[in-house]
């Protein structure tokens, strides 16, 4: 008998449905994960085993096989721990097998059974809502998932035991509420810039028509200062843009506390490597976001943005490729 738990894999910001199939059969004791798992997924065996022990359960000495279907889609990330653990618990009868049926599950487990936050909860919650399912996720990702819809069923637990108790009806995990991030008030203001009337006008025109802008001048003349004030004169993100930007932030693990903000993302440009990405309109916001926001999260954001494009444009540079503009201030406000 095979127990099935639904989860997702990420292709860019798109959440692709993945089934975690768990089979416990007689034979030599073994614990195998198949279905193109990467190193983080393969290591989840140890985390799952320890978390189950910490929750007072042990794995049966049988042949355990986990298949992540579709088997030809590479699985990356640590969010498969919880679906694997729940699948195993359902297979050994520790939780009712129908408890996780209508839910999409994601979460990372600690050795003590604590659920650690994972990247990509927002796109996963949107995918779950689209397919009429609820979502089971770590407590810290709850507020993020709550943005997907008011109606979606969210179980956000702090640890594996609390989750099991919630399913059994002994303890209730309350529904998380969406949280709003900082608003646009604390952005740097254009009144701090002295002089530069021509550049100020150009910045205004660029913001009004969504034009790109190149500023040329000696160091210290105020190019970066002007550029950093562009978000303060742009209109707040509309619903569609907010969703796009937040989904990228979610996948890159940069959505602090699940707080969404209509503030336009802005990087420290002087530490940035600018890249020109010719992207189709659906990816434009992401490419923009990347080019604006690639310091510590560079590699991950870049990978997120570019992987879906690579199939079409094999020539796109990797995350460590050289830059086109040194100390550039090339902006493309959308």
């Amino acid at each position: 008998m095979v127990t099935i738990v639904n989860t997702v894999a990420f292709r860019g910001i798109e959440a692709v449905p993945v089934e975690v199939q768990v089979q416990i059969a007689s034979g030599m004791p073994a614990f195998t994960i198949v279905g193109l798992p990467d190193k983080a997924v393969a290591e989840s065996r140890e985390r799952v085993r320890s978390a189950l022990v910490a929750s007072g359960l042990g794995l049966p000495p049988k042949r355990i096989t986990i298949n992540l279907a579709p088997a030809d889609l590479p699985k990356e990330g640590s969010h498969y721990d919880l679906p694997i653990a729940l699948g195993l618990m359902a297979a050994i009868g520790a939780v009712p097998s129908d408890a996780v049926d209508g839910h999409l599950v994601l979460g990372e487990l600690g050795l003590n059974g604590r659920l650690a936050p994972v990247a990509g909860t927002l796109p996963a919650a949107i995918a779950a809502h689209g397919s009429g399912r609820g979502i089971i996720c770590p407590e810290l990702n709850g507020p993020e998932a709550a943005w997907a819809s008011d109606e979606i069923d969210i179980i956000a637990a702090d640890n594996l035991l609390a989750l099991v108790n919630h399913m059994a009806g002994h303890q209730l995990c309350s529904r998380p509420q969406p949280r709003k991030g900082a608003d646009a008030k604390d952005l740097p203001d254009l009144s701090e810039v002295r002089g530069q009337q021509v550049a100020r006008r150009a910045l205004e025109v660029a913001a009004a028509g969504g034009h790109n802008l190149l500023m040329v001048g000696p160091p210290g003349s105020g190019k970066s200062m002007l550029a950093a004030r562009l978000p303060s004169i742009l209109p707040p993100l509309n619903a569609r843009e907010l969703l796009d930007v937040s989904m990228i932030q979610s996948i890159a693990g940069e959505l602090a506390g699940g707080r969404l903000s209509d503030k336009r993302p802005w990087p420290r440009l002087w530490e940035v490597v600018s890249r020109s990405v010719q992207a189709r309109s659906a990816w434009r916001t992401m490419a923009y976001y990347f080019s604006m926001n690639c310091r510590s999260s560079t590699r991950r954001s870049w990978t997120v943005c570019v992987n879906p494009l690579k199939a079409e444009r094999p020539g796109l540079p990797g995350p460590t490729a050289g830059c086109d503009i040194r100390r550039g201030s090339s902006l493309s406000p959308q």
């Binding site: 009144s191 002295r194 034009h211 190149l214 040329v216 000696p218």
Partner: protein, 163 residues
């Protein structure tokens, strides 16, 4: 970007020991095709001490943001009226769409023609000038694109690197 390696090219009184090639070589690091795709290029000269000491009287972001929002609303309602709801800003408009919303008068056409010949504007550059001119008219709340708008749009494309 900086105008040259030390960044001081064009500053009054500055003489570069490396000669004029330094500036040209530095700026050539950005390719022509890339620069052709930039709508607005603007020189940001160094701020003098006099400007720094003057009382700060520049406009705040909120005032500028109001004009930006008004201009964006004009663009959005125009594109929606034309059945191009997917296009929100002038920069995103296609060639046919932008030609249908920018109808330069004779004066502007003459100016565009002369500029295109003198500065060998590419076809892409021509459309980008129209887009910027449309934005300038929207910012000014003017229905038709006038000569002054085309002239300002052209000024953002030519004469770059003179600093």
């Amino acid at each position: 970007m900086n105008p040259c390696k030390c960044g001081l090219a064009g500053t009054p009184g500055h003489v570069c020991k490396r000669g004029e090639r330094c500036q040209a070589d530095y700026q050539a690091r950005i390719s022509g095709p890339f620069l052709d795709r930039i709508d607005i290029r603007v020189d940001v000269p160094a701020v003098s001490a006099r400007d720094m000491m003057a009382p700060c009287s520049s406009e705040s972001s909120a005032d500028v943001a109001r004009r930006v929002v008004a201009a964006r609303k004009i663009q959005q309602s125009r594109f929606e009226a034309l059945g191009a709801g997917g296009c929100h800003t002038n920069s995103a408009a296609g060639p046919n769409l932008i030609e249908s919303v920018v109808r330069p008068d004779r004066d502007s056409q003459d100016l565009l023609m002369r500029a295109a010949e003198k500065f060998s504007l590419s076809a892409r550059a021509y459309h980008r000038v129209l887009k910027v001119a449309r934005t300038l008219a929207d910012l000014g709340g003017v229905e038709n694109v006038l000569r002054e708008h085309v002239a300002e749009a052209l000024s953002y494309r030519i004469g770059f690197g003179a600093a």
